[in-house]
C-alpha cells in the first residue's frame, strides 16, 4: 500500500465517511474507494454489497482474487436533552460500544455535575449540528419534550438518514410533532421512521429502564440496518 492511499483512508475515517480498501491479491495493488464514488462493472457491485454488509472478505472478480475491507464509521448516539433518561443512557451506551454526545441549551440541565465524564454541549442543536453534522452512522434520540429544542434535530436526522431516530413523548404528543415535521418539509416516509414512543416495548417505567429500552432499539436498528447510502 502507498502512503497516499493510507492517508486517504485515514482522512475518510476521521471525517466519519465510509471507505473501502480494495486489494488485488494477485498484483498486490491497493486502492481506496470512498462511499459515493462511482465504481464501474462487477467490482462496483461487489463494493456496494460490501459497504452494505460492512464485512471484510475476498471476492473473485473476472478471475482475480480481490480483498475488500470495509471501514465504516463507529456508531454513535446524539441525545437531545440533558434529562434523567440521558443520565442513564450516558452510562450504558459506552458499555455497548457507542460514543455518546448530549446536546441541551438549558444550562440548568446541562451541568458537569449531572454528567461527569460525558460529552455534553450546552448549546442549541441548530448551532452544534452546524459544526458536527449528523450522519448515517449516528442515532438520534430527542428526549426534551420541548419542540423548540427537539424539532430541528429530528428533522435534520431524518433528512440526512440517521440509522435511528427516536423521540420521547406520548402518541398524542407525537401526532402534533408529525404535523410540525411535515411543515418543516419532511415526507411521510421520513417521519414514519421515527421510533415514538421511544424504546422497545419492555414495559419500561423508570428513566433508567427507558434508557435501556432506547439503547436496545438503537442496537436493533444498527444491526438490522439498511444503511442509507450517502449520495
Amino acid at each position: 500500500m502507498q502512503l497516499e492511499t493510507l492517508t486517504k483512508l485515514n482522512a475518510a475515517r476521521r471525517d466519519r465517511r465510509a471507505a473501502m480498501v480494495v486489494t488485488d491479491l494477485g498484483s498486490n495493488e491497493v486502492r481506496v474507494i470512498i462511499e459515493g464514488e462511482s465504481v464501474a462493472g462487477p467490482l462496483g457491485e461487489e463494493v456496494a454489497k460490501a459497504f452494505r454488509s460492512g464485512k471484510a472478505g475476498t471476492v473473485e472478480i473476472e478471475g482475480r482474487s480481490v480483498f475488500l475491507n470495509a471501514h465504516l464509521p463507529p456508531p454513535r448516539i446524539v441525545v437531545i436533552g440533558a434529562v434523567h433518561i440521558s443520565q442513564a443512557l450516558a452510562r450504558i451506551a459506552p458499555v455497548a460500544g457507542y460514543d455518546l454526545t448530549i446536546i441541551d441549551p438549558r444550562t440548568a440541565f446541562a451541568t458537569e455535575e449531572r454528567f461527569e465524564g460525558v460529552e455534553l454541549i450546552a448549546d442549541w442543536p441548530e448551532d452544534v449540528l452546524k459544526d458536527r453534522p449528523l450522519d448515517a452512522y449516528t442515532a438520534l434520540a430527542a428526549v426534551t419534550h420541548d419542540p423548540k429544542i427537539d424539532d430541528f434535530p429530528l428533522s435534520e436526522a431524518l433528512r440526512v438518514g440517521c440509522f435511528y431516530v427516536g423521540a420521547l413523548g406520548s402518541r398524542k404528543t407525537h401526532a402534533k410533532r408529525v404535523e410540525r415535521l411535515r411543515e418543516m418539509g419532511r415526507t411521510d416516509n421520513e417521519i414514519g421512521r421515527i421510533a415514538a414512543p421511544i424504546g422497545v416495548d419492555i414495559g419500561a417505567a423508570s428513566p433508567a429502564e427507558i434508557a435501556l429500552a432506547t439503547l436496545a432499539q438503537i442496537v436493533q436498528a444498527f444491526r438490522r440496518r439498511d444503511l442509507v447510502t450517502a449520495g
Binding site: 500500500m1 502512503l3 485515514n10 491479491l25 498486490n28 471484510a56 480483498f67
Partner: protein, 108 residues
C-alpha cells in the same frame, strides 16, 4: 494523536511512516472456524519490530512480526496461513482451533 488514536493501527502506521520509519501492514483476509479476530483486522509493524493492533488473540503475532520484517526488507507482499491443521501448529497455531490467512504488505 489522542490516546484512542494511538490504539488505531492504521493511524499509527501513517504516523510511523511520516516519521521516516519502515512499516508493514498485516491484515486478516480470511478466517475459518473460530478465529479470535475477524477478517479486516490489522497489525502494523515497524522495521524495529514494534507493533500495534492484532490479527489474533496474541497466538500468532510473533510469527507475523518476523515475516513482516522480511516483507519490509524485500518489498514483496506475502500471504501467511495459520491454523491447528498446519504443520507449524506446534510452534505457532491458534489454540481456539480456527484457521486464518494474513496478508502482509509494505507501506511504501
Amino acid at each position: 494523536m489522542t490516546v484512542i488514536e494511538t490504539l488505531d493501527p492504521l493511524l499509527t502506521a501513517e504516523s510511523w511512516k511520516r516519521a521516516g520509519r519502515d512499516v508493514a501492514i498485516a491484515t486478516v483476509v480470511e478466517t475459518w472456524g473460530s478465529a479470535p479476530r475477524p477478517a479486516g483486522s490489522h497489525l502494523v509493524i515497524d522495521g524495529e519490530g514494534n507493533f500495534e493492533g492484532s490479527v489474533s488473540g496474541g497466538c500468532v503475532e510473533g510469527a507475523v512480526i518476523t515475516e513482516a520484517l522480511d516483507v519490509i526488507e524485500s518489498g514483496e507482499a506475502k500471504m501467511l496461513e495459520f491454523g491447528v491443521a498446519d504443520e507449524t501448529a506446534w510452534r505457532v497455531g491458534l489454540s481456539c482451533g480456527g484457521r486464518i490467512r494474513v496478508y502482509v504488505e509494505r507501506l511504501s
